[in-house]
């Protein structure tokens, strides 16, 4: 039985700087793995290496036992790996509904069938369902650029789930989101995890969010894995406290 995601000895160097230094870990089906660490510890670089946005200097990435190292992000996405970004990444000039349709339209048919098929690629119902699941029904026809920051953050997350992904990597989903909306987002993520059997990897600075959402936590510092374990164990680990608070 292979892991949903396996990262083997991945390293990424930029000139003389080693952003990610020989990192290995696995994620199994249904897990919610949290990755925490101080700013500059290599979390986002690690994400970008896993997702093909960057090519790792060395090491290998496997999804369901299959090597995907260096695969283009669009091909990887069609294998069922999706992501959200640290900074907002929605399409402001498309409606909320079109943002969601866009997030799934390339997962079916061919270029040719998309050209001659239905304008909505038969995805309107799915999009409406996702919109109401995230509690945004009243916004379906609005331009995404007109939404509040928190609403755009929800839309960003919803887009990552449109194509029914097997593995979702979330880069700071809670950043800049108010408490009410944060609780809303966490509930949605938990439901998607249990009902759709989606596996998550979450980068987050908000400890409360990580500790209550994740089943396992991995701590990065200076590009290396510092600690790994259940949320409660990691929280009381003296090395982790030191890395966060400085020497």
């Amino acid at each position: 039985m292979s892991h949903v995601l396996e990262v083997r000895n991945v390293a990424k160097r930029f000139g003389g700087v080693t952003a990610v230094d020989d990192v290995s870990f696995c994620v199994d089906e249904g897990e919610i793995l949290g990755i925490i660490g101080p700013n500059g510890s290599g979390k986002s670089t690690l994400f970008n290496c896993v997702l093909g946005q960057l090519r790792p200097t060395s090491g290998e990435v496997l999804v369901d036992g299959r090597s995907v190292t260096g695969m283009r992000p669009c091909d990887l996405n069609r294998l069922g790996v999706s992501r959200t970004f640290q900074l907002l990444q929605v399409f402001p000039q498309l409606s909320v509904r079109d943002n969601l349709i866009l997030a799934a339209q390339e997962h079916q048919g061919t270029m040719l069938s998309r050209l001659f098929g239905r304008p909505d690629a038969g995805l309107t119902a799915d999009a409406e369902q996702m919109i109401s699941f995230f509690g945004m029904s009243h916004l379906a026809g609005e331009m995404a650029g007109g939404l509040s920051y928190g609403q755009q953050k929800l839309l960003d997350a919803a887009m990552a789930f449109m194509a029914g992904p097997r593995l979702v990597l979330l880069d700071e989903p809670a950043g800049g989101v108010n408490l009410t909306m944060l609780g809303h987002l966490k509930e949605r993520l938990k439901t998607l995890n249990s009902e759709r059997k989606a596996t998550f990897v979450v980068i987050e600075h908000n400890m409360e969010f990580v500790m209550s959402l994740c089943t396992r936590v991995l701590v990065l510092a200076e590009g290396k894995i510092l600690a790994e374990g259940k949320p409660a164990e990691v929280r009381s680990n003296p090395k982790v406290i030191e890395a966060y608070l400085g020497h």
Binding site: C74, N77, L94, E106, F116, G150
Partner: protein
């Protein structure tokens, strides 16, 4: 309110079409010629709007494709190739060359891409000017005949005008279909955020190449109509200045608006004719007009309408809100 604006838009388009169809009743042959020119240039502008306005890839090479299309038709004519066939050949050739020109766009963007496509315009111009054995060099090619289509002669100005309108309508329908399909959404995504698009499974590489190829193909089709319209072609017509004029049409009309290039082409082709009463000053007047428009409305003429529609809608919404909040106790709106 929104639907009312939509109806107003549809009504305007219907009126414009009726006016175009009725134009030969009132216009002299020169007016018909200018309107035909508008229809032909609008085809190229619609193509550039696809590449630039929707997919966000700047191109200063559109004139080259008009040239390639025009020369294709002019060079095939002596061999007795029927116009329909030459027309299709012009489109296909431009599609293929446009596809290849798309490759630099996979590496560079914005003003870098502008310079790459500028160099291409120069290259094509030099080929048209220097390869005399093929293109006739600076003397160009004259005596290009207007086609007879299924027994219907387009030799006279009015039939050719209707022929050009028909071709514009055909191209418009195809582009409308394309932009309404998932491709249109993918093109917009490519323009707005290529990195996010890539992470959503959108093959940005392929869509970029297609955006260039389709836009260029329309440039070629425009050229294929331009050759029989003016009946004489020479290299300088297809240089940088036409590329810039086509760019102007897209930007002035409203880049990324479906009707933008039609309005833009109207401004670029017909406005100079209207301003002729100003005699020697007409180019200056025209330049000033463009200057003012771009300063105060960078999103183009249709952008101006868009802003107006937004304003009306916002006013209506706040009026609604006011009348509602007067009736109800003010409850905080949950996000």
């Amino acid at each position: 309110m929104k639907t009312l604006l939509k109806y107003a838009q549809v009504a305007l388009v219907v009126l414009a079409i009726a006016a175009l169809l009725a134009a030969p009743l009132v216009l002299k042959p020169y007016g018909i010629f200018v309107l035909s020119q508008w229809a032909v240039m609008a085809i190229a502008a619609v193509g550039l709007n696809l590449t630039l306005g929707y997919a966000g890839q700047i191109s200063l090479a559109q004139a080259s494709f008009v040239g390639i299309g025009a020369y294709t038709v002019a060079l095939l004519q002596p061999f007795g190739v029927p116009f329909a066939l030459a027309f299709v050949a012009a489109g296909l050739l431009s599609f293929a060359i446009g596809w290849v020109l798309g490759y630099p766009a996979l590496r560079v963007q914005h003003h870098y891409l502008a310079f790459v496509t500028l160099a291409f315009t120069t290259l094509v111009f030099l080929v048209m000017r220097n390869e005399e054995w093929l293109t006739g060099g600076i003397y160009g090619i004259s005596n290009i005949k207007r086609p007879i289509i299924l027994g219907w002669s387009t030799v006279k100005p009015v039939p050719f005008y209707y022929f050009a309108l028909g071709m514009l309508a055909l191209v418009t329908a195809i582009v409308w279909w394309l932009l309404r399909s998932p491709w249109g959404r993918a093109f917009t995504a490519l323009r707005e955020n290529p990195i996010r698009a890539l992470s959503l499974g959108i093959d940005t590489r392929r869509y970029t190449l297609f955006a260039f190829a389709f836009g260029s193909a329309l440039g070629g089709l425009s050229g294929a109509m331009h050759a029989p319209l003016v009946q004489f072609i020479e290299p300088t017509s297809f240089g940088l200045s036409l590329s810039l004029t086509l760019l102007l049409m897209v930007i002035v009309g409203g880049s990324g608006y479906f009707l933008g290039p039609f309005v833009g082409a109207l401004v670029a082709v017909i406005m100079p004719e209207w301003l002729r009463f100003a005699d020697g000053l007409y180019l200056i007047a025209y330049a000033l007009l463009v200057l003012l428009l771009m300063t105060f409305c960078p999103s183009g003429i249709l952008g101006l309408f868009g802003r107006l529609a937004n304003l009306i809608e916002t006013r209506a919404a706040s009026a609604r809100r006011q009348s509602l909040s007067a009736k109800l106790d003010q409850k905080p709106v949950s996000s």
